[in-house]
């Protein structure tokens, strides 16, 4: 998915399970992972549904570190 693309500037932690079409295609707008795009469909790679393992809806705005299922791209930081 992200292979071969210039890494987007993720200015905040992004859950590695969050999915949207843009990350699958060449030239896709990866900003869709950072900011809610109302024109985009989001899903979770754990549940394959529009809700995460906690049964709450997923989106760039909703998938934050406050959720128990949140797992940032690159893994959780070593404490």
């Amino acid at each position: 998915m992200l292979q071969g693309k210039a890494l987007p500037i993720f200015n905040r932690p992004i859950c590695q399970y969050l999915r949207t079409k843009a990350i699958y295609i060449p030239g896709g707008n990866l900003q869709n992972l950072v900011e809610n795009n109302p024109g985009s469909h989001y899903w979770c790679n754990c549940t394959m549904q529009v809700v995460g393992p906690d049964d709450q809806f997923v989106s760039p705005d909703a998938c934050t570190q406050s959720r128990p299922c949140f797992n940032p791209v690159g893994g959780k930081p070593v404490v």
Binding site: M1, Q3, G4, K5, A6, Q16, Y17, R19, K21, I23, Y24, I25, P26, G27, G28, N36, P38, G39, S40, H41, Y42, W43, N45, C46, T47, M48, Q49, V50, V51, D55, Q56, F57, S59, A62
Partner: protein, 705 residues
């Protein structure tokens, strides 16, 4: 600077080349995921909810587990979690036969506590409607955009139109349903045959889900029976197939049923927009005020374009999503564009009529795209625009004919991320390998054309390997009309690099400088002395036991973003039955360099057919009472068949020598062109798709009254 060269020098590129997989497809030799049968394979089935909204109180799988032949039963939802739409997954089984799997599904007992549901936009937005997701009133925050000064714009307008346009939910109807065959080896390596648009994306998703290194997952998609934007991730059915295979230690095939395909495998969201627009007396679109919404089921993503294509200096738009208890939308061929184009092109004709202006002339004034300006002329000539009714509905007789026009715009410029290798073997054989997938668009043949052109060979001389992650040559998913512009430059530069290496090897043999060498048809020669000519086999024979294998780079100069299109439709409307019969559609499609003119035309034909289905036939019906889809089959959900498809004149409008994708854009202008043609025929406007006989008769009756 990299270049595709002049058209006059091309032997294969730009010509009509039969697709390499054509014979295999028509003879049944081509293997789709559906055709994969592994020894000892089990069959997977999924139990789905028939209730649109509920809380899961219990799932009892014991009877199913006890059924002879059943090898695994797994839950797909936990107790206390919510079901949010009909079709949502409850549990899955793997069994020795498909019939046993079906029986086992029936033996699973589900205890659901039903909750109030809303399956239409109107019900979802009604006062007191149950809130079904994290949006107040089931409506997402509106996206508002303003340009110019809308009040000043309307003050300048000589005419105004206010109208509401609607398009319903349309499902993808992939002829090969979503599905996978999954096979584990030693619990360490997973092979998946996937009906997917993205081999590498699916590989990565499986690797993450099963906590495997990506290089221990292999995904294969040799042939694929339609995706149209709905087949990017594995879907829950993919993860389920792999989980059932992991548990049983046997390969598992799990393909969706046609009903499930309608319910859970994506759809094009609906659109309802109320628009007020104004134009000046000299035909300038001057003000546009639109508020609209759509539903993508329980998901977001119900976006649509507007204003579209035509320049309007003063505009205000407000769009929002409406949540309903229905399966989520997925990207569908030019997401948001056909809906917006239908509304915009209908609006343009309505404004032109108020101005007393020819609608084509009105478009010429307001369309800033130079390519489309030329297309208007060409398309009008081809359809016989002069034959349209100057006064809509003025034709005589029961069956009335009309002509209309619509427009569209797309990107399709491709992107980085493809790796490829072109290999020349000593016996003269050639291989081209990359991790893209041929989703039916013909990229396998495109790759062969490029390599064959570079080497002076025939396409059948090139062995193309795509649709497999194992060679480790990634490529992006086939979406956004990006495949050919992403892949073609890499193949071209890889082939050019391999050719250069071969020239370096044989230049001493020919006693000629490398720069002097050229390929002929099956030969290599020195341009300054044609007596220095050897055959391809003589040249490659110099490699001995070696091969030449080169990678390529994505040269931006070899592709270009931007694909303008316009279409003209002629229809015949039976004013007694309300039936709309398409006579002809002219599709003029900007595509840059068409590497294979034949498959480019096929792309255009396919887009037009999908567009006319949206215009005249396709609509998902939801029952507000039960919350279920009423036409989740292919008898009541109508798609175009041979009787509905008219003469299609696909005009490949290749204005430059850079590659642009055209998978999506040809479906955009069709509904608007057809709607305008219907109006031109009968003099009453139908602002809601599909334009079915009942709507036509109602509109005619209203006019008469």
């Amino acid at each position: 600077m990299a270049s595709w060269g002049e058209a006059s020098e091309s032997r294969l590129i730009g010509k009509r080349i039969t697709r390499l997989s054509g014979k295999d497809k028509v003879t049944g030799k081509a293997k789709y995921t559906f055709d994969i049968n592994e020894p000892g394979m089990l069959y997977g089935r999924i139990l789905r909810s028939e209730v649109a909204h509920a809380t899961v109180m219990g799932v009892d799988m014991s009877e199913a587990e006890a059924l002879p032949g059943v090898k695994a039963v797994i839950p797909l939802i936990e107790v206390d979690k919510k079901v949010r739409y009909q079709g949502q997954e409850i549990a899955a089984v793997a069994a020795e036969t498909d019939d046993i799997a079906k029986d086992a599904i029936r033996l699973i007992r589900v205890d659901l506590e039903e909750l109030p549901h809303v399956v239409t936009e109107e019900d979802a937005m009604a006062a007191g409607a149950p809130e079904i997701r994290d949006w107040a009133g089931n409506q997402s925050e509106p996206g508002v955009r303003e340009e110019g000064n809308i009040e000043e714009g309307f003050a300048e307008a000589a005419v105004e139109v206010e109208a509401t346009y609607h398009t319903p939910v349309q499902t993808h109807v992939c002829l090969e349903t979503h599905g996978h065959v999954a096979k584990w080896e030693d619990n360490q390596n997973l092979t998946v045959w996937a009906s997917t648009q993205g081999v590498f994306g699916v590989r990565n998703d499986f690797a993450q889900r099963f906590e495997l290194p990506a290089n221990q997952v292999r995904v294969i998609t040799e042939h694929m029976g339609g995706g149209f934007g709905s087949k990017f991730g594995p879907g829950l059915e993919g993860h389920t197939a792999a989980e059932l295979s992991r548990i049983t230690g046997k390969p598992v095939k799990l393909m969706l049923t046609r009903k499930s395909e309608h319910l859970v495998a994506g759809n094009r969201p609906s659109m309802t927009q109320k628009v007020r627009a104004g134009a000046t007396s000299d035909g300038r679109l001057i003000a546009y005020d639109m508020k609209g919404y759509g539903t993508g089921g329980i998901s977001s993503g119900a976006g649509f374009t507007g204003p579209y294509v035509y320049y309007v200096p003063n505009s205000r738009t407000e769009r929002f999503n409406v949540a309903t208890n229905a399966g989520n939308q997925r990207a569908m061929r030019a997401p948001g564009h056909p809906q917006g184009a239908f509304a915009m092109d209908s609006l343009m004709d309505e404004l032109a009529e108020k101005l007393g202006m020819n609608p084509l002339e009105f478009r010429r004034i307001n369309d800033p795209n130079e390519v489309r300006q030329a297309q208007y002329t060409l398309g009008a000539q081809e359809i016989g625009w002069h034959r349209r009714n100057n006064v809509a509905g003025s034709g005589t007789g029961v069956k009335k004919r009309g002509i209309g026009v619509g427009s569209g715009q797309w990107g399709g410029g491709g992107g980085r991320g493809t790796e490829a290798r072109v290999t020349i073997n000593a016996d003269g054989t050639v291989e081209a390998v990359t991790g893209t997938q041929d989703i039916g668009t013909g990229v396998r043949t495109v790759i062969a054309i490029i390599v064959a052109e570079e080497f002076g060979l025939d396409t059948t001389d090139i062995r193309v390997k795509v649709g497999d992650s194992q060679p480790g040559l990634p490529s992006g998913g086939s979406g956004g009309s990006q495949t050919t512009p992403s892949v073609a430059p890499v193949i071209k530069t890889a082939a050019a690099a391999a050719k250069q290496k071969l020239f370096e090897r044989i230049a001493p043999l020919l006693d000629a400088p490398v720069a002097d060498l050229r390929v002929g048809t099956g030969t290599i020669y020195a341009v300054s002395d044609r007596t220095k000519t050897i055959t391809w086999q003589q040249a490659t024979g110099q490699l001995g036991m070696e091969s030449i294998s080169e990678g390529g780079t994505w040269e931006e100069d070899l592709r270009q973003n931007g694909a303008a299109g316009t279409q003209f439709a002629e229809v015949e409307v039976d004013t007694q039955t309300g039936a709309v019969r398409l006579i002809k559609i002219v599709a003029v499609q900007d595509c840059g360099l068409a590497i294979n003119r034949l498959t480019t035309e096929s792309q255009i034909n396919g887009g037009v057919i999908m567009g006319l289905g949206q215009a005249l036939l396709e609509e998902r019906f939801m029952d507000p009472v039960t919350g279920r889809m009423l036409n989740a089959n292919l008898e009541d959900y109508k798609v175009p068949g041979t009787f509905e498809i008219p003469e299609i004149k696909s005009i490949v409008f290749d204005t430059h020598r850079k590659v642009t994708g055209v998978g999506e854009p040809p479906c955009i202008p069709t509904p608007g062109a057809i709607a305008n043609a219907v109006y031109n025929a009968i003099g009453v406007r139908i602002r809601s798709l599909p334009i079915t006989p009942d709507k036509v008769l109602d509109a005619l009756a209203e006019k008469k009254a």
